[in-house]
């Protein structure tokens, strides 16, 4: 922590979550953030001004009643706090850990104008984790009076959007069955986000809650291949929610990209997170890891890949086209990556993967210049002529985003897709096929866990209206 930052926090008293020491944590996969102490949490919640018109709530994609839960927290009543959160967000243990709070709730906090905003993410996490100590609490009575008549609804995928949709539908009284292609549930939470940022036990806890709500999960079922829409209608499902995510990795399309030692971030993270490659040979999925790793990209996935490679013993360089401030990754992850000794080569772009004997030997990059903001608000980048330089590397990881998986499209040719390849939905998350709804990355392209959850929940309410109106 910089001296300025430390002074500021002393002044404003923003609670700083204890973390594992960087020199220690680069040798393990245990969670980096250790959680606030009860004393820290209560004091931090007490800093909330309880604004009449809370901007933090507007900044939250699912509009969690933040002052409401902080009110309870300030009194040390964390069960009450959790109850408030659960009214709008059923997965605070996950969201408290992975939401980009600085762009959402904390980014709008009025205290942030002069000092430092409330540590809302850390407090959400605290509420979830302390509630978990006496069997995590999910109250079906929140939606008392609603009955989905016990009808069957299918949920495709088991990532964040699907989890939120399933939870909401179950609470509305539907019999929910979830279909997941992989052998483990959680989608990106399981194969993508590493243990050191989101422990598998947290995801498992949320799935245990879903099971308690009666949600039935089928793994090893790939919608579009193992099962199709006709099968679901034949099995008496009355509506279908598609939350299959955007899983197809993008590549740069540059020379040398198919050399050995070039991975998509998805492959790299899947081998480690889902298949336990870091415990090879006890776990039989291998990974070829070099001593020098270059990662391209600036999102959370790029940070996850870089920090995972670091934990596998490599020296890691992240190459990003824009500047550090413009990285889409959570600020905390970028900071943690820096603390862990990851080097950032900014305003640079790989143009060619160099190889020797079929394996990666380096990455040739070009300097980039930042221009004016484009229509999307992000600054344009242009390549600086004759500014090429080589980075030595024996592993190159591409983390530049994902496109929607084509299998769904092959399996549902009558479903309307947009020009960008995502499923077209209306304001009610309805697709072009009656009874089929969709939300999450499969409708937006790669986005955040919380926006996917917000979409899943909204879609569940639309499904409820659709089935009640029928």
């Amino acid at each position: 922590m910089s001296a300025v930052r430390r002074a500021l926090s002393a002044q404003t008293g923003r609670a700083i979550m204890p973390t594992q020491d960087p020199n220690q944590r680069i040798h393990n996969f245990a969670e980096v953030n250790l959680g606030l102490t009860a004393e820290q949490a209560q004091r931090e919640a007490g800093r909330c001004l309880q604004c009449k018109n809370p901007l933090c709530v507007q900044g939250c994609p699912v509009n969690v009643d933040i002052p409401g839960f902080l009110h309870w927290g300030a009194q040390g009543q964390w069960e009450g706090a959790l109850e408030v959160i659960l009214e709008t967000n059923l997965f605070p243990g996950i969201c408290g850990r992975v939401c980009p709070q600085e762009h959402q709730c904390e980014g709008r906090c009025i205290l942030g104008r002069k000092g430092e905003p409330i540590a809302i993410g850390s407090l959400e996490r605290f509420a979830a984790d302390s509630g978990a100590q006496d069997s995590f609490f999910l109250d079906k009575s929140t939606l008392a009076g609603e009955t989905g008549d016990g009808e069957k609804v299918a949920v495709i995928g088991s990532g964040p959007a699907s989890m939120a949709a399933a939870a909401e539908l179950a609470r509305l009284g539907y019999r929910v069955e979830m279909f997941e292609a992989l052998h483990e549930t959680g989608g990106v939470l399981s194969y993508g986000i590493p243990e050191f940022r989101l422990p598998k036990s947290i995801v498992a806890r949320e799935f245990a809650n879903l099971a308690e709500l009666g949600v039935k999960v089928h793994t090893n079922v790939l919608f579009g291949r193992t099962l199709d829409l006709e099968d679901l209608w034949a099995q008496d499902f009355k509506a279908v929610f598609v939350g299959a995510g955007a899983g197809l990795p993008r590549f740069l399309g540059i020379e040398g990209e198919n050399l050995n030692g070039v991975f998509s971030a998805n492959e790299f993270l899947t081998r480690v997170n889902l298949m336990g490659a870091h415990q090879f040979p006890e776990y039989e999925t291998p990974i070829t890891m070099g001593k020098k790793v270059v990662v391209v990209g600036g999102g959370n996935t790029a940070m996850d890949a870089a920090r995972t490679a670091r934990r596998l013993g490599a020296k890691v360089t992240v190459v990003y086209r824009r500047s550090l401030e413009e990285m889409p990754a959570r600020a905390e992850e970028v900071r943690h990556a820096q603390e862990e000794g990851i080097h950032f080569t900014i305003r640079s772009n790989p143009v060619k993967v160099l190889g020797r004997d079929g394996w990666v030997s380096g990455v040739c990059c070009q300097r980039m210049e930042l221009g004016d903001a484009g229509p999307d608000g992000r600054r344009r980048v242009t390549a600086v002529p004759d500014s090429f330089f080589d980075l030595p590397a024996d592993t190159f990881i591409v983390a530049i985003g994902q496109s929607p998986n084509p299998i769904l499209r092959q399996g549902l040719p009558e479903l309307k897709f947009t020009d960008r390849g995502v499923i077209a939905v209306d304001d009610n998350y309805a697709t072009s096929i009656p009874g089929v709804f969709a939300a999450g990355d499969i409708t937006t392209g790669g986005a955040t866990v919380i926006s996917a959850m917000g979409g899943g929940r909204g879609a569940a309410q639309s499904i409820h209206r659709y089935l009640q109106g029928k």
Partner: protein
């Protein structure tokens, strides 16, 4: 689910497993594959579907035990279960009445070409099947293939059955004899498929190959199985596994296939015993 319902040894290294997987059996088509995980600490490995019985809810896998994962799988006994099985994956083979189709297979791929040969015959094609192996005792599925082929020819390296030499020589003989060939389907080790494609290229005979690159999820999520076809990067699991062999960059495929060779040896109780029955020497 995924219980082994029958098991049979076909040759020294090759086993046939019938596995209970009713959803997969109901949807499977020739040319498709499954991803299997033998146990909780195992790898996800892609294996072609050799046969399927939607009535019984079973699929048949023919597995050559050459690495730890395949060895783990064939060590499961009847009544035991594979941890996971996902499928059917990949795009089904293009089956049509092309005229005369030559099915070329080497080693364990004999089991993979079988459902295709059968489908080609049912679609009204004249089917000629060419099989290659190191020696006569390594052939299997002979009765099955004879039933769905107009003709079956053999090549062995040691000359113990049929022609002494490689399957490519059998194919050359057919071409030289003036046989009108409308399509070749070649499945087997990469060097064999490559040799077949080089042979048919000057004659402009459409040649389809079934690729089996390193794969992890098999659903288009990881990109491990990317192959270069016609100068473009394609994902074998979603775009394949079958491609126009004249467009495949076999050198790149072979290079990517050896990525984990050194690591394989680090796994305890590794049962490597000679790999691909000598087919890789071609």
């Amino acid at each position: 689910m995924f219980e082994i319902v029958a098991k049979k040894q076909l040759s020294n290294q090759i086993w046939q497993l019938d596995i209970h997987a009713p959803l997969v059996a109901a949807k499977a088509r020739p040319g498709q594959f499954v991803v299997v995980r033998a146990h909780d600490k195992g790898e996800r490995i892609p294996l072609s579907i050799s046969d399927f019985d939607s009535q019984a809810g079973h699929i048949t896998l023919v597995v050559q035990a050459i690495g730890h994962s395949t060895t783990d799988l064939v060590s499961l006994e009847v009544g035991e279960k594979a941890a996971d099985l996902l499928g059917p994956l990949g795009t089904p083979a293009e089956i049509d009445n092309f005229g005369t189709v030559v099915c070329v297979a080497g080693g364990v791929a004999t089991a993979i070409i079988y459902p295709e040969a059968r489908a080609f015959q049912q679609a009204g094609n004249k089917v000629i099947t060419l099989l290659g192996a190191r020696s006569a005792d390594l052939f299997f599925y002979e009765d099955e293939l004879r039933q769905c082929s107009d003709e079956v020819r053999y090549a062995t390296e040691d000359g113990s059955r049929g022609k002494q030499g490689f399957v490519t020589e059998l194919l050359q003989e057919l071409i030289d004899a003036g046989e009108q060939i409308d399509r070749v389907v070649a499945i087997g080790p990469v060097p064999m498929m490559r040799a077949v494609c080089e042979l048919t290229r000057p004659y402009q005979i459409k040649t389809v190959v079934s690729l089996n690159p390193i794969m992890v999820d098999g659903t288009g999520m990881c990109g491990a199985c990317r192959v270069e076809v016609g100068g473009e990067t394609r994902f074998c699991c979603t775009d394949g596994p079958e491609f126009d062999g004249h467009l495949v960059d076999f050198a790149a495929l072979q290079n990517r296939s050896r990525q984990y060779q050194n690591l394989e040896e680090k796994i305890p109780h590794h049962h490597s015993n000679g790999g691909c029955a000598g087919q890789c020497q071609q």
